[in-house]
């Protein structure tokens, strides 16, 4: 590594922000991929891969990926839930890699819900 100057410290920190924000558990957007047996069988792994590539290509630093189990609606898998900070979660169903890319561009990057792929806004009621 070349000798650093004070301004280089910020550059390194900026480059690393994606890695570090992941560890602090804080992000502007959270993408939850449903990975039940049904989800995996329907291609959830591919959806995860496509979304992670989108994040890599656009170099966004504040998006967190996580997985969860089956959401109970197995016939509509693969399914993802998108949570933007301070907004209700949105569930998308019957996904393909192309649909996932569009959701990433429109919903994650620009904050517009892709209504035609969305199942519902909000969470199920629980005790």
């Amino acid at each position: 590594m070349p000798k650093l100057r004070p301004e280089d410290l910020d550059k390194i920190a900026d480059r690393m922000r994606k890695v570090m924000s992941l560890r602090e558990g804080a992000g502007r957007a959270k993408i939850i991929v449903h990975m039940g047996t049904c989800g995996i069988a329907a291609g959830a792994r591919k959806i995860m891969g496509a979304l992670m590539r989108c994040a890599d290509e656009t170099a966004v630093k504040d998006v967190i990926f996580t997985t969860t189990g089956c959401a109970g609606l197995c016939s509509r898998e693969p399914m993802i839930t998108i949570e933007l900070a301070g907004q209700a979660p949105v569930k998308y169903v019957d996904l393909t890699e192309e649909k996932a890319k569009r959701i990433f561009t429109e919903h994650i990057m620009n904050g517009r819900i892709v209504a035609e792929y969305a199942l519902a806004i909000g969470s199920e009621q629980t005790l």
Binding site: K3, R15, M16, M20, L22, F65
Partner: protein, 597 residues
């Protein structure tokens, strides 16, 4: 850097490494590859996360889920369930002692929740072997600020205003020490980092160096700028292999990046650090003995006619600071003296790291604001006493500290209060004892340690500590005499008065503080030939309660001395002549019939 969706922050501190965390790492990598997750999930080895009792421990980020006591055979299930299918594995989570259901998130675990991390700010969050991760967490900014925006005088003023005091034990104001070294003109000055941690059960410095070595380097460089020194030296014991390796690696990285060496960060400031391996003599942590050790002389303390800040190592002005003191410095420079001075008590500012060990449920490394009560540390963070036993005392300040009884549990912990209570802050060891601990035996243990570690230079320490050890051993062996107690007090005072260094000056503390709070136990040993805690073997007799004995013959079969006899279906008896008081009969008895008095 490649993007992963999940980071597995696996602890690689000494505790977890000895519990097999590198085997867990291999297992994780193998299973992740099997599930084709190697490009989505990364394994990151971190420094000590503090919760050593539950090791190997791992935090899954960004979910914040905490796993503990991992074994090789848990890994396939963990990878498939959590990292592939997104179903966290409850079985491997932490269950608080008082609760029945596991707690998934680290932030909800009492042990972590009540701590405030300054010295340990990066623990578990960075890979200590990667300088970029330290920089990403704000590292080396304080050094840049100290070099570009502050004069050396302003740095010293800031540290003075913060109220930071030496964390090695003595509590001397750090800013005052720096000012004194800055004032003396010399072509060469030294900044020494004292990492010769020798107290039994203490591992604050080791964990900090293992988990965040760049913080030590940054703190030393700032100290160097403040006092006008270009020479740093870390005195670290050779028994700390992981700390040594990571520190040396970090120094190399800092040199490559121009953060050590000539013209740091493009300024005219030069500073470099060498590592000196100590051979592990306890007395070497004392400043003048350490100096002698570095100079190749026998490690004996010497009279301090002049301050080390005027003529220390090689007769040059020298600042000696403890690891924990130095790693706090960058935060003070970065956030300001006012921020630091706002934490803690009137005379003790900031936080303190404690190695919480002994009969407490959650043993590990703990950082709390000064002024936190012993009760909060032991019962809220530590989770209380193991088993269904009662708290008896807590020993603070290492071997030359003292034992504090339960009547003082609500005492806020700071330098002054601990000294008033007859103990001391020391480097931060905290050994919790329960009702099964004999305080006379504890005093004997520490005296034995100090007797071995006394360098032998001062007669009072060399002979006095040995004499005290022999008296206390006699008391434990049932040969105590009435006059022993006053003799111990007199000897203790003499050793204190006539020893040159702090080792001798504090060596009688374990005896004096146990005499102060637990005199009745000494008296029971001497007058009644009884050890109330049932520890001192010479004073115990094992017998069998005929009412409770069901004649199962388990004790009879297990006694290594064949000291137990009796007919079938009749209560058994112990032959006191043959009994060696090993306690096997008590351990195997299912009916609680073995009486120990």
């Amino acid at each position: 850097m490649k993007a992963f969706r999940t980071h597995l922050m696996l602890c690689a501190g000494t505790g977890c490494v000895s519990n097999g965390s590198y085997r867990i790492k291999e297992g994780l990598e193998r299973e992740l590859a099997k599930q084709n997750l190697q490009d989505e999930v990364a394994v990151v080895m971190t420094g000590c996360n503090g919760f050593c009792a539950q090791g190997p421990v791992m935090t899954v980020q960004p979910d914040g889920i905490f796993y503990q006591l991992l074994t090789d055979k848990d890994i396939p299930q963990l990878v498939e369930e959590h990292f592939l299918k997104g179903r966290p594995v409850k079985r491997l989570m932490y269950t608080p002692p008082e609760a029945k259901t596991p707690v998934p998130k680290m932030s909800e675990i009492g042990f972590f929740k009540k701590q405030r991390l300054i010295a340990l700010r990066n623990r578990g969050l960075i890979d200590p072997e990667k300088i970029e991760e330290y920089i990403a967490r704000g590292g080396y900014r304080a050094l840049a600020k100290a070099l570009n925006d502050l004069t050396p005088g302003e740095i010293i003023e800031e540290v003075k205003k913060s109220g930071l005091r030496g964390r090695g034990g003595a509590g001397y104001p750090t800013g005052v020490k720096w000012q004194s070294a800055a004032r003396h003109k010399s072509d060469v000055k030294y900044i020494i980092c004292n990492a010769d941690e020798g107290d039994p059960g203490a591992f604050m410095d080791r964990s900090i160096i293992e988990g965040d070595p760049h913080a030590v380097i940054e703190g030393m460089a700032i100290a160097g700028r403040a006092v006008g020194s270009s020479n740093g030296l870390v005195y670290i014991r050779a028994e700390y292999p992981i700390a040594l390796e990571r520190l040396s690696l970090a120094i190399g990285q800092a040199r490559d990046c121009g953060l050590l060496g000539k013209g740091i960060l493009g300024t005219d400031f030069d500073f470099d650090i060498t590592v000196f391996k100590g051979a592990g003599a306890f007395v070497c942590g004392e400043s003048s003995a350490m100096r002698a050790s570095i100079q190749g002389e026998p490690p004996e303390p010497s009279a301090k006619h002049t301050h080390a800040t005027e003529a220390g190592l090689w007769e040059k002005p020298t600042v000696l600071n403890n690891v924990e003191t130095l790693v706090v410095v960058p935060e003070i420079i970065q956030r300001g003296a006012g921020w630091f001075a706002g934490i803690g008590t009137e005379k003790s500012k900031g936080t303190k790291v404690f190695a919480l060990v002994g009969k407490v449920k959650n043993t590990g490394l703990v950082e709390v604001p000064m002024g936190t009560s012993l009760r909060d540390i032991i019962f809220d963070i530590g989770g209380g006493i193991q088993g269904e036993r009662k708290f008896k005392a807590v020993q603070t300040g290492g071997p030359s500290g003292g034992c504090i009884p339960d009547s003082l549990l609500d005492m806020p912990v700071d330098y002054e209060r601990l000294t008033e209570a007859g103990s001391m802050m020391g480097s931060g060891g905290m050994i919790v004892m329960d009702e099964d601990t004999c305080m006379v035996d504890v005093a004997r243990y520490f005296l034995e340690f100090l007797r071995d570690e006394s360098c032998g230079k001062c007669t009072a320490c060399r002979e006095g500590v040995d004499a005290m050890y022999r008296i206390v051993s006699d008391i434990c062996a049932g040969k105590g005499k009435e006059e022993h107690i006053s003799l111990l007090e007199e000897l203790g005072q003499a050793v204190k008065d006539a020893s040159m260094c702090a080792l001798g000056g504090t060596a009688p503390n374990p005896v004096l503080s146990t005499l102060r709070y637990f005199r009745d136990e000494y008296e029971a040993h001497i007058r009644d030939h009884r050890c109330p805690a049932g520890v001192c073997k010479a004073l115990l007799t094992f017998s069998i309660d005929p009412e409770k004995c069901k004649a199962c013959l388990l004790c009879n079969k297990n006694c290594p001395q064949n000291a137990i006899s009796g007919e079938k279906k009749k209560p058994q008896k112990i032959d006191q002549e043959k009994c060696i008081k090993c306690g096997v009969c008590r351990d195997v008895c299912k009916f609680d019939a073995v009486i120990v008095r």
